[in-house]
Structure formats: C-alpha cells, structure tokens
C-alpha cells in the first residue's frame, strides 16, 4: 500500500461527515419533537375537567322580573325572568342606537339565540354572567335610572364600568368589546327547567 492510499484512507471524508451529522441532528430533533408533543399535551385540561358536565336549573322559584345565578363549570350562569315591560326596553335601546352589536352578528350566542332576546324563549334569558372585558361579574341592575339617568335596565360591571342591556348586549362607551356569552342550553317552559349543556365554542368569554 502506497503512502498516498494510506493518506486517503485516513483523511476525513467531509461529505460523509456532514451527511452523518445532518442525519443525527434530524433524527435527534424528530425524537425530541415526538416526546415533546405528549409532554406538552399532558398539561392540557384533563379529560375529567373537559368532560362537559351539565347543570339543570329549576325555574319555578324565579318570579317575573327576578333572576337567579347557578354555578356551571366554575362559571356563573344567570337566568332572568323578563317581564313584558323589560322586553320592550330591548327595542328602546336599539332605537336609541345605544348598542355596539344590536343584531348579535358576533357569534357570542348559539344560532338559535341570534335574536334581540338572545334566548330560546323571549321571557327567559340564560347567559354566562361574565363581563366580556376582563372577566369580572357584572351586577344585575333592572331598575330604570339606577346606573345613569337614561338607564333602561341591564347589567353593569363593577370593575371597569361596562354596561349591557337586559339581553346582555353591550352598550356603546363600554370597554367590553362584545355582548356577554350565551352557552348552549335546552329549556322546557312546561316543566320549568333549563339544562345548560355546553359552552358555545365560538363565543368569547373574556
């Protein structure tokens, strides 16, 4: 064997080295990525937490004009028994042009609640009582003039003063961007019960 072939035998084959380095890097990244996905996924909400527990609310104790709050998946759900006078205020706010989204174009409610009442049955408002601004719980203020002289009744947030009408539609001048969210629910007026089934996936809570 001549010296030259000897040298060739021991000279580093740069192309081969580069290929092997690239191979190791790529397969190493693949292994790390493969294990990183389940590791990060394991921090997702657990199946138990995500299991959509339903809450049934009995409507019989709620007199006309009254409201009740029930806890559903760690969130307050408000049910309001609206009187015909209260329902007329909904038209009034619309006519006065007070609302940011009077026609509920932003999908903050299931399609079957896309109306001025934002509910399946006009008298019964069912919604999540969380302000769309920064997650506070607004107060229920049904009396006219109770928040401002022009106030027709609705919800007023104690944190940053967001205002909503009696369908929880946000009033212009509020920091909240959208109407309050409405979950998916079933209502049986005869049996006087509401079953909150799940969050409407497109709705934005806060």
């Amino acid at each position: 064997m001549s010296d030259e072939t000897q040298d060739n035998k021991h000279a580093p084959n740069v192309t081969r080295r580069r290929f092997l380095t690239a191979l190791v890097t790529v397969s190493g990244a693949a292994v790390a990525g493969t294990i990183a996905v389940p590791m990060v996924k394991s921090l997702d909400p657990t199946a138990a937490a995500a299991a959509l527990a339903t809450t049934t609310i009995d409507l019989s104790p709620i007199e006309p004009g009254m409201q009740m709050v029930a806890l559903w998946q760690e969130k307050p759900v408000i049910v309001v028994n609206r009187t015909p006078e209260m329902l007329t205020t909904l038209d009034e706010t619309e006519q006065k042009g007070l609302l940011k989204d009077p026609n509920c174009n932003v999908p903050q409610q299931p399609p079957y609640c896309k109306n001025k009442y934002r509910s399946r049955v006009p008298e019964w408002y069912v919604g999540i009582k969380i302000c769309n601004h920064l997650c506070c719980i607004p107060h229920y203020r049904p009396k006219k003039g109770s928040v401002a002289p022009w106030w027709l009744g609705g919800f007023h947030c104690p944190c940053h003063g967001s205002m909503y009408d009696l369908s929880a539609r946000v009033i212009k001048g509020s920091p909240a961007p959208h109407n309050m969210a409405v979950p998916e629910y079933d209502i049986d007026v005869e049996k006087k019960s509401v079953v909150v089934t799940k969050m409407y996936p497109l709705a934005h809570l806060c």
Binding site: V24, S27, G28, V31, P38, M39, K41, S42, L43, D44, T46, A47, A48, A49
Partner: protein, 404 residues
Amino acid sequence: MSFKEWFVKRSPLPEMWREHMAEYYAPKNFNIFYYAGSLLLLMVVLQFLSGFLVLAHYIPTARDAYDSVYGIMYDVHYGWLMQYMHVDGVSLIFVLLYIHMARGMLYGSYRAPREIVWIIGYTTYLAFMAEAFFGYVLPYSNLSYWAGTVITSLFKSIPFIGGWVTTLVRGGSGMSGDTLDRFMALHVTVVFLVIVGLIVFHILYLHKVGSNNPDGIEIKANKGSDGHPVDGIPFHPYYSVKDLFGFGVWLIIFGAIIFYAPTFHHVFLERTMSTPANPLKSLPDVTPPWYLSPFYAMLRSIPNKDGGIILMVVAVVFPFVLPWLDRNPVKSTRYRPVTRVMLIIFFINFFVLAYLGEQPPLPKYFFPERLGAVIYVAFFILLPFVSKFEPTRTPPARVRFRAH
C-alpha cells in the same frame, strides 16, 4: 468585536467546555459498560421532565392521592405515557446504577486516587434509594401505605430517639396525608437536589483524577510530547458521539418497555399498587421493589428484629470502605483471577438475594437467605486478605486496544 468574542470574554462556559469535554482526555479502551454513566445522566433528565409533568396533576392528600394518580393514567392527555416513563425510569436507573457500580468493582475504579469518586457515587445510589422510596409512597396505594409503614418503622430501632424519629418522619403516629405532604416535599426538592448535587460533584471529582479503564492502569503515567496521555482521547467528540449512539439504542429499549411491557410482568410496577391504601388490610405479602430487595432479604434472614436491621445497615454501609479493603497493587480484575471469581459470585449472589427478597416469607427461603447474607458479608471480610495474597498477572504497560 464580534458578539462571540464579546460573549466569550465574559463567560466561564468555553473554559468549562474545554476542561470537561473538548480537552478531557479519557482512556481509549472503554467498553460497553462505560455507557451506563452517560445513560444515567439522560435518565435523570427524563425523570425530571416526566416527574414535573405528573406532579402537575398530583394531589398529596390521603383522600385524593390515589384517585389523582389514576386520573393521570386515564384523564390526563398522554398521562399514561408520563406515568410509565416515570415508573419504568426508576427501575431502569437502578439497572444502570448496578451496571455502573459492577463495572467500577470489576476494573478497580474505586481504588486510589478515585476513592472520593466512589464514595460520592455510592452516596448517590443511596440517595436514589431514598428518592425511589418516597416516590412509591406518593400514589398512596395499599403497597405505598404498607411499604411506608414498614420502612418508617425501621427508625424505631434507633436507640433512645427511635420513637421520636419515627413520628417526625411520618408526621404523626401512623401514615397519613401529612406523611404524603412531607414525602412529596422531600421527593421533589431536598432529595432530588441532593442527587443533582452529588452527580455534579461525582463528575468534578472524576475529572480531577481522570477516568479509569478496563485495564486498570493510569493513562496519565504515559504522556506524549503534547502533554496529553498517549492512550487518551478527547471526550468530545470521541466519547460524546459514542454516548449519543448509546442514547439512541437505550431509548429504543426504554420505549419498548414503556409501550409493550410497562409493568414488566409486575416487577417494575407491582400488582398491589392498584388497590388504594387500607389501614385495616395488610398486603398478602409485603415485598419491596426489586432494586431494594437484596437488602430486604438480608433483613429478614436474621430471626431477631434489631439483628436484622443491623445486618441490613452493615450491608448498605460496607461498600463505603471498599477502597480500603482492597490491598492489591493491581486494580483491574482482568489481571486478578481470584478476585474476579469472587466478584462474579458476589454479583450472582446479589441477584439471588433480590429474587429471594421478592418471595413470600416462607420458612423454606430462610436458609438460602441466610446463605446469601453470609456470602455478601464474606466478600467484604475476605477481600483484604485475598487481595493481599492472591496471585496476579502483570498488567500491560499500555492499555489493550484494537482499533476498529
């Protein structure tokens, strides 16, 4: 001035990289047993990651601990994977620890000047035992409950203060949610940090004196004109690339166990782990995990409570003095046939004891257990005399190495 120069001027890292990686000269004749060390590092990192992720869903109360662990198995996305990684990882760490220690014993890596490396390493092994124990109490299964009760009651044998120590460890008169609170705190903070610290010091002390090799001869005794050992090669890239290959093979084995035999026929994860803690019902037979069971077999081989505990403590402590029990000038058992045979008997005996410790406490096992305990202790007692007088072969002047 480039960013690199600016950074390098201010950073200790390039110097550390040179000292411990690029210019750390390791003997070129390492064999397959030398994978265990780097694999242990990998496993500790993986245990940290999987441990963090199961801790994120664990509740350390007597009422909820067991259910929360089952929640990890069934409700957490990929929770079963994190759980099995963490559980099987423990057994594999002990497999690697035993290979790592057996290799050190075979090639005399505990001998001068590496006594402190051995002592730190052996202390790490004991810290892993404590870590594993605290870990398997946390799910609060019936095995956890009774293993916790039995192990903590060992402290009762300490003279005078035993009762107080036992109550202190348990946080009450018996196992309870308070025990889980402090065991979790120990498992995730103190003991884990002690292990990490010991590993750092193990490596620093090793790099001060240099690595041993299968021939047990000092490569630093034979330096070339460049001042580096003739039989040494830089750790990086030679051994770092080799260890990377080891990682690949090892992860295939680890994955195969996790996916196809996660309980390893109920050796890695005992059946009694799947019933909740019940203070009214002892287990059918209380056996420790396989990696602790040799010591447990020795404990029960003596028909006297304090005697058994003393034997177990002696068995655990003996390896600390190993560097001073061996008096032969030759380090590697490659050139000491008698010690090599003694060591192989010692290893086999250790695994027989592990098997016996897993058996129900029946009288038919008492004799083999006593014999095993005698062989274990006899190794350490005979070693000073055998090593002094045994015939040896002359080790070579240079390490034996065949290039490939």
